[in-house]
């Protein structure tokens, strides 16, 4: 819908890393038996991605699939496609115990861009960012809110949090990326 807006409408900040809100992103929570063929098939169908293993995020032609817990995936697709994807996946999984819900608007997404993107997140998250590589997904917290992050490439971290705390997350990331705050170099 044309009047849909993301929480911060693409706000950005140029620090020693660039922090930007990614705008509207389609996100779907899929809960089910991850080992089942049905789930793998549904994931493949709607994202083109293979089933992610523990701690992984996979990429396909239409989106990504991230491992959130032993019975939960996060599917990332175009925002506009999300309702249709929910419909398709639900239909595909009608025969088994599963739950597919659109959470696109319950989330805010940020990109932290720059060689030090791991360092910026490491100021806020207790997880070991230095071991993170593209293809891995980590759920943890930043300061006082839950967050998940993964790397699109070695210099682009994507961070997901709840929409209601988007401003807080953005302010935290800005503070962490402020020039003068470089830890190494």
């Amino acid at each position: 819908m044309s009047n849909a807006v993301s929480a911060l409408q693409g706000a950005s900040f140029d620090g020693y890393c660039k922090v930007e809100e990614a705008g509207l992103t389609g996100m779907i929570t899929l809960r089910g038996e991850l080992a089942s063929a049905g789930v793998a098939k549904a994931v493949k169908a709607v994202t083109g991605a293979a089933m992610p293993g523990q701690g992984q995020i996979t990429e396909g032609a239409k989106g990504r699939a991230g491992w959130m817990s032993p019975d939960e995936l996060l599917l990332i697709v175009d925002h506009a496609d999300a309702p249709a994807v929910v419909q398709a996946a639900s239909t595909s999984l009608a025969g088994e115990h599963a739950l597919v819900v659109n959470v696109s608007d319950a989330r805010a997404v940020f990109r932290v861009k720059g060689a030090a993107c791991r360092e910026v997140i490491a100021k806020l998250a207790p997880a070991d960012t230095s071991v993170m590589q593209p293809g891995m997904l980590r759920r943890t917290r930043i300061a006082q809110i839950p967050a998940a992050f993964y790397l699109e490439d070695d210099e682009t971290a994507v961070l997901v949090c709840f929409r209601s705390v988007a401003q807080y997350a953005f302010d935290l990331l800005k503070d962490a990326a402020k020039p003068g705050g470089e830890v190494f170099g």
Partner: protein, 1005 residues
Amino acid sequence: MSTRLAQGGRLIDRSKPKNFTFNGKRMKGYEGDTLAAALLGENQMLVGRSFKYHRPRGIVASGAEEPNALVNMGQGGRFEPNQRVTTTELFDGLTCTSQNHWPSLEFDVGVVNNYAARFLPAGFYYKTFMAPAAAWKHVFEPIVRQSAGLGKVPTEADVDRYEHFYYHTDVVVIGGGVAGLAAALAAGRSGAKVLVMEQTHHWGGRAPVDGGEIDGQSVEDWIAATLAELEGMENVTLRTRMMGSGVYDHGYVLGYERVADHTPGDGRPRHRLWRIRTKQIVTATGAIERPLSFAGNDIPGVMLASAVRDYVVNWGVSIGDRTVVVTNNDDAYRTALALKEAGLEVPVILDARDEATGPLAEAARDAGIRVEPGRAIAKVNGGKRVTGVSICLQAGEGAALEEIPCDAVAMSGGWSPVVHLWSHCGGKLIWDEAQAHFRPDPDRAPTGHDGEAFVVTAGAASGAMSLADTLENAYEAGKTAAKAAGGKAVRKAGPKAEAEEAQPMAPVWIMPQGAGPQKRMKMWLDYQNDVKVSDVQLAAREGYESVEHTKRYTTLGMATDQGKLSNINGLAVLSDALGQPIPATGTTTFRPPYTPISFGAIAGEARHEIFQPIRRTPMHQWHEEAGAYMEPVGHWRRPYCYAKPGETNEQAVHREVLNTRERLGLLDASTLGKLIVKGPDAGKFMDMMYTNMMSTLAVGKCRYGLMCTENGFLSDDGVVARIDEDTWLCHTTSGGADRIHAWMEEWLQTEWWDWKVYVANVTEQFAQVAVVGPNARKLLEKLGGMNVSKETLPFMQWADGKIGDFDARVYRISFSGELSYEIAVPASQGRAFWDTLLEAGEELGVMPYGTECLHIMRAEKGFIMIGDETDGTVIPQDLGLNWAISKKKEDFLGKRAQLRSHMTDPARWKLVGLETLDGSVLPDGAYAVGEGDNVHGQRNMIGRVTSTYYSPTLKKGIAMGLIKHGPDRMGEVVDFPTVDGSNTVIKARICDPVFYDKDGEKQNV
């Protein structure tokens, strides 16, 4: 006098002078100076006053152990009290002032305490100031408070920023002296990930001051070469200006990095607190020299021998022209030699040992220094500065043999390993007789999550006191830690130094050995807190025998240096007084931080706007722009009311109520929790979670439900909608969404894990707006879309469809008693939807309303509010909600609890309405009283107000409350005493809690 020598100073750059002021006096130092070195270079030995007696205090040490030299530093938003000058780097424009005196450092009135010192022994305040009873609070305490306290109070908020940094590594090496570097070398060579931190801004620690050779190079060259090798290792990270502040369980280390203390205002964070997780820790924290206890050992000019040497060698500063050295060990001879080499006079070395042999003593004699074994200081002469010493036999009682004029005394009572970080997390110590110190017991190291040791000590911190032993011990420590952290075996040999011959030290705890009470009252143990040998002995005599008792009774070691200089000497004196060996006395507990760390650093980024998260709904910005008064609800901020210009909040609330009841109101209800519960066993699960029967709710319908804890108390409520055959949507309270979601998951995961149910929290996916009032339907019909008529969408049903252009789910539910639709749209469109409703509703008299209006309307209807009618002690039965408790169900959470005797007691306070006889509003929180007093002599209370408001609709005060036997006492009048000082009692009649539209006709139109 102390002065800057013409030459020397390995750490300073004389081409870069730095200007600073002390007590307004302009002074000069050099880049590389500590503030202490710079002050001494300007002959500023006197820097403060002691805590209790206000005695003059000079600089005693050269590092973190300094107890005396604390100053007020900076100005305005960068003012900071109690800054230790020995660990403060000099920078251009630094300003500082001395502390704890009035009117001036030189002439301090507080020094009267010094003259009365004899009447102020340890613990004197426990024995007096007791009469009359009120005198402590009103007379004595204010005097004590004003005279204590050291630094000045800052007056402005901090202008600097701080941050945290999480770091994960295999090995942390704390301390960048030669031991730390040797350990880092071993760990680095193993391939393990290593972080090395050094609290000062230079590497190598004190070894270059002491001299010697490592692997055939000078110590200085070895340090440079080693740093080069470490810097070349990708797996090794080196940080200076970072102190190992504390070691915590499971390999957690705090690193306190003083990023910009020496470059204030350069835009960098002032401090960065590293929160490190590591597999292994090497503490290469060195050792601290102990003072000796002789009469007058606190007079400015008496300094640790190692510090005297540091100032000469590192900063080219001499403490005095004539320095008497007094010692019980070899190391102080190095100071004598260093002074001699710098062209300064050393009139005598007083060695408490019976003889002075060995290479260092020989070297001193060769250098022409008089060496006197078996001698001690009987007394130091001087007031604000040393003028001389009387010397005596160590074995005697202090009869003066000779007076020696001097302007400095360099003392050494032996060395104690810095065991703080080892001990923080439970590492144990053993007493080393030969060195007369406690050192870490490697067999009783702190253990980590796997039960294995995770701290290793290196070098002097292990008790290895010579260069050769230090290097060997430290390299081994590095290897051990690396191996335990999963590194490769290291075959390459470690650095080596020649073993030196040394004469054993002799434990000397007081000087001279037979000093009488008068002398012991002049022997300081704790310089800052003014604790003397006589005080510790007094404590022992009075039965404060535990080391913790003595510490607390005398305040020994409780000053800002936390006893780094005084603890071991104090323990020894106490042990002697108790006639027991030192290990039997033991030590006090070492607690973090190693040296004080700023609150700013601990708070990190959590300041101002990001102190805590604020949760915002999609319409949040609109509310703020509309000037709403926002109230915190959990982390949310919700509009309390929208006051117009000239309107009070109360007036605004009343307007909102009337407008909603008469026309049309909009409430941002997005914060209400929304949980999806789905699965073949979802009905069974819902029946356990709610007191009501939810499994029978028809698809398309809504039902109000209650949730209780297993302890029976009401915890949340909300409307449940049946979405399809195996899906329910549960609304929770605003504060309850995350809590109830977690609650559901907990039961599903830990009790009924074989039930097929999934839960998802979709609270934030939707913006939800309550469209309320007689014009509600008109507004929706004006926008077009789905059919919202009474027939198609009756009360307590829901439907999906379109409202205008918006995809919406519409619930026909009412918390106000009016015709009401709660409409959920995707959050991304929430603001647009809100704007649309306002615009279209204008002609229908639409106004937004806030939480207070919501509360009043629900109270008028007698609806309970979680948190008002409930407080964690209220069960649904108390609130007359029995109709919402299924009697058919065998079990639900809380059911068993509600069967306990106190829960079924008919005397429980129960919900009723209350109306005052005069129409006034009952005060919030008022209690109703019955006849007489209870067993405690308290007034008998028979109930209390839970919600109370002025009802703009009914034009009078209305309230709900819990009253003993309340529902059986309809029409009776009860008394509510006020607490506003008027001593009045408000009388209120018990009535039905539903004040408005008792038959519910308005909501069902």
